[in-house]
Symmetry: C2
Subunit: 123 residues, 2 copies
């Protein structure tokens, strides 16, 4: 599926997948991806050279570890990690996120490992 | 205020203003604006030559009139109006929106009237 041409219901989209740390593409605004993710546990420290990354919590709680501090986000809260800034997303319980970033960015930024999603699939 | 460097709580941001049809800037992702708006009544038909526009309903209900159909969006639903496509947002009751679009775009696109916001203020 490419660009959604109809109404996008976030809860319905989130019900379509269970995989953790596997962002799915639900919309594009120009060259910008709107992605949904389910996460639990600790991700890898990484950064994105070419894009800022916005995290919006849709469900649960996200701990964003940054070089100089931790940012805790609850449902309805968001934070923009500027390009180039190291970060490590952590969630003790399963959390659901919307992320907004430049298209074509792998999920692990400058790092490649078994969790890397090079290009999210449309749902 | 320029770019938010801290947690952005959507409900707290929405409590900061009451004006209708007056988008406020709460975050930027690269060259893309994340805006919040309160609306009620009928807006003007318009289009944006240079940007897609994503509408996400945070509260209430939005009727997006398009040239060939109407799209009704409730809380947690979103829709992307592609660049160049005429649209007219309508809300019978007060509704709260997040919109995502290229920076520097006036709120009424190709139209100028008393409702035009050339550049949203940061909150």
């Amino acid at each position: 599926m490419t660009q959604a041409k109809d109404r996008i219901n976030l809860k319905e989209k989130l019900a379509l997948f269970d995989e953790l740390w596997t962002p799915k593409l639900v919309a594009k605004v120009n060259d910008t991806d709107i992605r949904l993710s389910k996460i639990q546990g600790e991700f890898v420290w990484h950064h994105h050279d070419d894009t800022d990354e916005l995290f919006l919590v849709l469900k649960g709680e996200l701990l964003l570890r940054l070089p100089d501090r931790d940012v805790r986000l609850r449902e309805g809260e968001m934070f923009v990690v500027p390009r180039g800034v190291e970060h490590k997303p952590v969630a003790e319980e399963e959390a659901h996120l919307m992320t907004i970033e430049l298209e074509g960015q792998p999920s692990t930024g400058n790092v490649r490992n078994e969790r890397t999603v090079e290009s999210p699939e449309w749902i």
